[in-house]
C-alpha cells in the first residue's frame, strides 16, 4: 500500500507545484498592455541599456518598450531576412556593416527618417542604405597584447599584422574564428584589406606559427588570454580597442594594449522594419537610440563607442581606450558580394 501512497504524494506535489505559481502559467503575466501602445525592438543578445534610459523613452514616447533579443549580429540579420514578410517587431538594432547589405538587398528595412547626431555622418552608409540604416555605435576589432607579460619576458610586443607571423611570437596568439564570431569575421576582413588576394597565404602563415582558433570571443579572451578571467597562457589576443579599459590593475594603469595598426571598424545600425505594426513608434525609438542619453550609456552598457561626437566618454575610456586614426576597411558592397566565398575559403585554409 505504501507504493500507492507515495505515488499519490508525488502526484499531489506535482499538482501543487504547478498550481502554486511554480509554473509559467501560474505567475502574473505582463501581457496586459494593448498592442498599439508598445514598440517591439528586435536585437542581438549583447543588447543592454540602463533602466533609467529605457524608462525615459517610455515616458517621453508613451510606448512600452518590448525587447526580443537573441543570437549574434549574423543570426539577427538572417532572422530578419527570413521573417521579412511577417516581422517579429517594429524596429531592429544590431545589424552591422558586415551584414548590412544582405538586409538591405532583401528589403528588410523601411525608411527611418532620423536626424543624425554630430559626428555620425562618417559612419553612415552610401546610397539607398543611408535612409534606412541609422548608425548607433562603433567599435574597432584590434589585436590586443598583454603588456605586463611582454615586460616581464623582456620582449618587445608585436605591432603589425606581419609581426604576428614571426617566429619570436610563435604559439602566442589566440583568436575567435571568422565563421563563428563577428570579431573573427572583422579580423578576416582586416587581412583582406591589408593583403588583398594574398590573404589566404597570410592565414596559412598565421596557423603555421601556432595561432589558436576558438569558437567565440569569450573563449579566446577569458580562457586562453593571459589577462582573461581563466588565467590562460597566450599573451596576444583578438579583442577590441576598448578592452584595455577593462584590465586596469590596482595601481590604476592598464595591463593590456590594443595594436592600432591591426584594427577594423564595426558599425552597428538601427532601422525601422518594413511591415511594422507600429512604424511611428519604431521611428521614435530609432531616433532615441541616436540621442544623447543612449549615446552616453553605450560605453558602459555595451562596450562600444557612441557615433555622436557630443557625448562625454567615461573616465577610464577617455584614458585607456584609444581609437585608431586609420583603421582598415572594406567596402560593404564588396563584403556583401564576397563574404560567403571568403568564409568558405577561410574555413578550408584553417581546418584540416
Amino acid at each position: 500500500m505504501r507504493r500507492t501512497h507515495a505515488s499519490i504524494t508525488v502526484l499531489g506535489l506535482a499538482l501543487a507545484a504547478t498550481t502554486a505559481g511554480c509554473s509559467l502559467g501560474g505567475g502574473g503575466d505582463d501581457e496586459g498592455a494593448g498592442k498599439a501602445e508598445q514598440v517591439v525592438l528586435v536585437t542581438h543578445e549583447s543588447f543592454a541599456l540602463p533602466d533609467e534610459v529605457v524608462a525615459q523613452f517610455e515616458e517621453e514616447s508613451g510606448y512600452d518598450l518590448v525587447l526580443r533579443a537573441s543570437g549574434d549580429a549574423g543570426a539577427l540579420t538572417n532572422k530578419l531576412v527570413l521573417t521579412k514578410d511577417d516581422p517579429t517587431g517594429d524596429a531592429a538594432f544590431g545589424v552591422d556593416n558586415t551584414f548590412a547589405s544582405r538586409a538591405l538587398d532583401e528589403g528588410v528595412f523601411d525608411t527611418a527618417e532620423a536626424e543624425l547626431p554630430a559626428g555620425a555622418d562618417r559612419f553612415a552608409l552610401d546610397g539607398d542604405g543611408a535612409d534606412r540604416l541609422v548608425p548607433v555605435d562603433n567599435a574597432n576589432v584590434c589585436i590586443n597584447v598583454d603588456t605586463t607579460w611582454f615586460a616581464e619576458q623582456g620582449v618587445e610586443p608585436p605591432a603589425t599584422l606581419e609581426d604576428l607571423t614571426r617566429k619570436q611570437y610563435a604559439d602566442q596568439l589566440v583568436l575567435p574564428g571568422a565563421a563563428t564570431s563577428s570579431p573573427g569575421l572583422a579580423f578576416l576582413l582586416t587581412t583582406v584589406a591589408a593583403f588583398g588576394d594574398d590573404w589566404p597565404s597570410y592565414w596559412r602563415d598565421l596557423v603555421a606559427n601556432g595561432a589558436k582558433l576558438t569558437e567565440g570571443w569569450s573563449d579566446a579572451y577569458q580562457v586562453d588570454f593571459t589577462q582573461g578571467g581563466g588565467g590562460g597562457d597566450r599573451p596576444i589576443v583578438l579583442s577590441y580597442d576598448s578592452s584595455p579599459a577593462f584590465t586596469i590593475a590596482d595601481d590604476g594603469t592598464t595591463t593590456t594594449a590594443a595594436l592600432l595598426d591591426t584594427c577594423f571598424t564595426q558599425v552597428e545600425y538601427a532601422g525601422v522594419l518594413a511591415g511594422a505594426e507600429n512604424p511611428e513608434g519604431a521611428r521614435e525609438l530609432v531616433q532615441f537610440l541616436t540621442g544623447p542619453e543612449v549615446q552616453a550609456a553605450l560605453p558602459t552598457s555595451m562596450y562600444v563607442f557612441p557615433v555622436s561626437s557630443e557625448v562625454e566618454l567615461p573616465a577610464e575610456w577617455a584614458e585607456f581606450a584609444v581609437q585608431p586614426d586609420d583603421p582598415w576597411s572594406v567596402d560593404p558592397a564588396e563584403i556583401s558580394a564576397n563574404r560567403d566565398a571568403w568564409l568558405r575559403e577561410w574555413s578550408d585554409v584553417t581546418s584540416r
Binding site: E45, A48, D219, G230
Partner: protein, 544 residues
C-alpha cells in the same frame, strides 16, 4: 476496431503537439531550402551532398558520436551495476551527483574542460586541447549518466533468480553476465545507447568549443550555414541527411531491442552487500566519479577565486545584474524562471511521454498494428535528430500568424524543452510498460476493472518509479537546455544557462567569476532535484 480507436485516441494529443511544434517549423525551414525563389529546385539541394566538405563533416559526426557512445556504455555499465545492485554507502548521492554533468550547459562544460586541458591547465601536459579526444571525452562526460540511469533502472528490477540458478549450475560470474544478465538488459542498453548516440551526433557546443574549429559535425555545419551564411539549401540537405540517419538508427535500434520474451518477472532486487568479487565495478565507479568530478571541481574553484584570494563575492553578485549591468535582470531571477520553466516542461513531457509510451508498448494484434506502433515510436524520437537552430528559426517563420500565433508565447520555451526531453521519457517508460504481462491486464479486466482501474492497479505499481526517474530527467534536461532556448529566449525572460552564456560573453573578470558561480548554483540545484527524486523512491525499496 475499438482497440484501433483507443490507440488513435491516446496518440492524438501527442501527435498533434508534435505536428504543430516540430513538423510544421522544420518543414517550413526545409521548404525554404527546396523552394529558394518560390521555384522547386531539389537539384541544388542534392548537389550540396557531393561537396567534399560535407563528406568530411558526415564522417566526423558518425565516428565521433559512435566512439563517444561506446565509451559512455563501457563506463556506464559497471557504474549502473554498482549503484543499483550493490549496497554501496551514499549510492543515492552518487547517482544524483553523476547526473550533474548531463544538465550543465555546454558552454560551461566547454570552458571547464578547456581550463583543465588547455595549455596552462593542470592536464595541459596531455596536449588534448583542440583534439578529437577532447571532444569524445566531453561527449561521454555529458552522456554517461543516461546509460547509468536507464540501464540501472532495468538492472534494479531484474529478477536475480535466473542468474542465481545459472550460478548454482556452475556458471562463472562472467558467464552469468554474458548469457543471462546481458540478454535481459539488452533492450535498455540499446535504448540508452541510441539516445546517447543521438545526443552526441547533435551536440554542437562541445564540438565548437573543444574542437578549436578544426572539426565540424553536421550540427555545427547547419548552425553556420543557417545563422551565418544563410545557405538554406545546404542546411536543408544536411537536415534531410540527419532525419534519414535518425530514422535508420531507430529502425536498427528497434530490431536490436526486440527480445524473445519481453515479459520480465518484476521483482525489485534488494541491493546486496558488497563482496570482494565486486571490486572491479566498484573501482570503475569510483574512477568514473573522479573523472566526472574534475571539470566540476575546476568550476567550483574558479567560482571561489578572485585574483589570488578566496572569496564568496561571485556568489553574492548573483543577486544582482553583473558588472556594468551585463544582464537585464538579476541572475537569481533567471534561476527562478529556469525552475518555473522546468516545472512546465516536466509535466508537458510526462503527459505526452506517458501517452506515447502506453501507445507504443502495448502488444499488437497483427502486423499492420505493430508497424503503426513502430512508426509512432520512431516519430517521437525525431526531435532528437533535428538541429535546435532549424527548429528555432522554423518557429519564427511558421508560428507567426493566426491561428498559430505562438512565437511570442511564454510557453514556447517549455514546449521546446519538453520536446527535447520527450524521447528520454518515452525511452525510460516504454521498455518497462512493455515488460508488463498483458495477461495481468486481461485478468484485471475479467475481474471487472475498467481500463483506468486496470492501469492504476497493474501498470502504475510497476511504472511509477521509472516515471519519477523520467520526471527527474525531464526536469534536469529543461534546467540545462541551451540550444533551442537561446534561440527563443527574450531578454526579459532569461533562463539561467542563457544568462550564464551572456555573462561569459561580457568583458571583466567579475562577470566571468559570476558566470562560474551561476554554473555551480545550476549544478547544485540539479543535484538537489535529483536527490529529491531519489528520496521519493525510497519507500518502494523498503529502506525506511
Amino acid at each position: 476496431m475499438r482497440r484501433a480507436l483507443t490507440l488513435l485516441g491516446l496518440a492524438a494529443v501527442p501527435v498533434l503537439v508534435l505536428a504543430v511544434f516540430f513538423v510544421l517549423p522544420v518543414s517550413g525551414m526545409l521548404a525554404r531550402g527546396f523552394w529558394p525563389d518560390g521555384r522547386f529546385d531539389p537539384g541544388a539541394v542534392l548537389e550540396v551532398l557531393t561537396r567534399p566538405r560535407v563528406h568530411r563533416v558526415l564522417w566526423f559526426t558518425i565516428w565521433s558520436a559512435g566512439l563517444a557512445t561506446a565509451v559512455s556504455v563501457v563506463l556506464g555499465l559497471p557504474a549502473a551495476y554498482a549503484l543499483h545492485r550493490l549496497a554501496l554507502p551514499l549510492r543515492r548521492t552518487i547517482r544524483a551527483a553523476l547526473l550533474v554533468p548531463f544538465v550543465l550547459p555546454t558552454v560551461v562544460v566547454g570552458v571547464a574542460f578547456r581550463q583543465l586541458l588547455g595549455e596552462a591547465g593542470p592536464l595541459g601536459f596531455l596536449g588534448l586541447d583542440g583534439t578529437p579526444v577532447a571532444i569524445v571525452g566531453a561527449l561521454a562526460f555529458f552522456n554517461v549518466a543516461v546509460v547509468i540511469r536507464s540501464v540501472g533502472a532495468s538492472w534494479e528490477s531484474l529478477d536475480p533468480r535466473p542468474g542465481e540458478a545459472a550460478a548454482a549450475l556452475g556458471a562463472s560470474p562472467a558467464q552469468v553476465f554474458r548469457t543471462v544478465t546481458l540478454p535481459a538488459l539488452r533492450p535498455s542498453i540499446v535504448s540508452a545507447a541510441s539516445v546517447v548516440f543521438l545526443f552526441c551526433a547533435t551536440s554542437f557546443g562541445v564540438v565548437l568549443t573543444l574542437g578549436g574549429l578544426r572539426y565540424s559535425s553536421v550540427e555545427t555545419e547547419i548552425y553556420l550555414l543557417t545563422t551565418n551564411l544563410l545557405d538554406l539549401q545546404a542546411a536543408a540537405a544536411l537536415s534531410i541527411v540527419q532525419l534519414v540517419a535518425v530514422t535508420a538508427l531507430l529502425v536498427v535500434a528497434g530490431r536490436l531491442r526486440r527480445v524473445p520474451d519481453p515479459s520480465l518477472a518484476r521483482v525489485v532486487a534488494r541491493p546486496r552487500r558488497v563482496r570482494p568479487g565486486d571490486a572491479a565495478p566498484v573501482v570503475a565507479t569510483v574512477l568514473l566519479l573522479v573523472v566526472v568530478a574534475l571539470p566540476v571541481v575546476s568550476l567550483v574553484v574558479g567560482s571561489l577565486r578572485q585574483g589570488d584570494r578566496w572569496t564568496l563575492d561571485h556568489y553574492r553578485a548573483l543577486a544582482g545584474r553583473g558588472a556594468d549591468e551585463a544582464l537585464l535582470q538579476p541572475a537569481s531571477d533567471a534561476l527562478l524562471l529556469s525552475l518555473r520553466t522546468a516545472v512546465d516542461a516536466t509535466w508537458m513531457s510526462l503527459v505526452l511521454g506517458t501517452l506515447v509510451a502506453v501507445v507504443v508498448s502495448r502488444r499488437s494484434r497483427g502486423r499492420a498494428e505493430r508497424r503503426l506502433r513502430g512508426v509512432l515510436d520512431g516519430f517521437f524520437m525525431l526531435p532528437l535528430g533535428v538541429s535546435a537552430v532549424t527548429l528555432g528559426f522554423g518557429f519564427l517563420i511558421t508560428l507567426g500568424r493566426p491561428p498559430l500565433e505562438l512565437r511570442d508565447s511564454a510557453l514556447l520555451v517549455p514546449v521546446a524543452q519538453a520536446l527535447v526531453a520527450l524521447p528520454l521519457v518515452v525511452r525510460t517508460l516504454a521498455p518497462v510498460l512493455a515488460s508488463v504481462d498483458e495477461r495481468q491486464r486481461q485478468a484485471a479486466a475479467s475481474l471487472g476493472a475498467g481500463p483506468l482501474r486496470a492501469a492504476l492497479t497493474v501498470d502504475l505499481p510497476v511504472v511509477w518509479r521509472p516515471l519519477l526517474a523520467a520526471a527527474g530527467f525531464a526536469f534536469a534536461v529543461s534546467l540545462g537546455e541551451f540550444g533551442a532556448t537561446s534561440f527563443l529566449a527574450r531578454d526579459e525572460r532569461l533562463t539561467l544557462p542563457v544568462a550564464i552564456y551572456r555573462l561569459i560573453g561580457h568583458p571583466g573578470a567579475a562577470n566571468y567569476g559570476m558566470a562560474l558561480a551561476a554554473s555551480v548554483v545550476l549544478a547544485a540545484t540539479t543535484a538537489v532535484v535529483m536527490l529529491a527524486v531519489e528520496r521519493l523512491r525510497v519507500p518502494s525499496l523498503g529502506a525506511f
